[in-house]
């Protein structure tokens, strides 16, 4: 089965450090989402891309977060500087949207702990 690959699976970092999370979407998928999951807030949409172009990043704290798709096989989410409140599981999901909408495939997530 095709998979969305996220790296690293776990990351522990000190406050103030830069964190980069990576996602390899399924080949041929043209839509990529980044979500953050916490117990309090649930699944929050941070940003999403269609055909590598950013469509919406209104859910992302702009001062410290950035999301990019340098090519069709890689999406990145960067936090600089990181803060303890950024501790969460970050999911990437990809899917194919043309005339029809289909379900999305999630990666296994990156569990980030900022101490």
């Amino acid at each position: 089965d095709a998979r969305v690959t996220q790296t690293p699976r776990h990351k522990v970092t000190e406050m103030g450090q830069e964190v980069t999370m990576r996602c390899q979407p399924i080949l041929g998928h043209n839509t990529v989402f980044w979500y953050r999951q916490t117990m309090m807030q649930g699944l929050e949409l941070l940003a999403y891309f269609r055909n590598r172009a950013p469509l919406d990043d209104s859910g992302m704290p702009k001062d410290r977060f950035s999301a990019e798709m340098p090519d069709a096989t890689l999406a990145t989410l960067k936090i600089q500087p990181s803060e303890p409140r950024d501790s969460a599981v970050y999911f990437c999901a990809s899917g194919l949207n043309r005339q029809h909408v289909y379900g999305y495939t999630f990666g296994s997530g990156t569990r980030l702990t900022v101490v």
Partner: protein
Amino acid sequence: GQQVMQIPQYQHVQEGEDFTTYCNSSTTLSNIQWYKQRPGGHPVFLIQLVKSGEVKKQKRLTFQFGEAKKNSSLHITATQTTDVGTYFCAESYNQGGKLIFGQGTELSVKP
């Protein structure tokens, strides 16, 4: 803004009992997707509903989309311990735009 409200937040059932989670919106939904997340896992796509009044079944799972497209439900008949997890509804806004999730219903099943 867009928001889908999901209830209940938690549901504890005895194995063999039925389970239902509801997803409600104050505005008309473009479509509804349902996902399941096992403890420690990631959301997994179950199904998508698009048409008003649509009903779809997957074995013991029945998914419904309201006539007014403002609500949806997932019903599990005769729960099993393998059904444990959190069930999310999500709206794919404007047919392929943002995918906004409800808060989820966490199901626990007592054997």
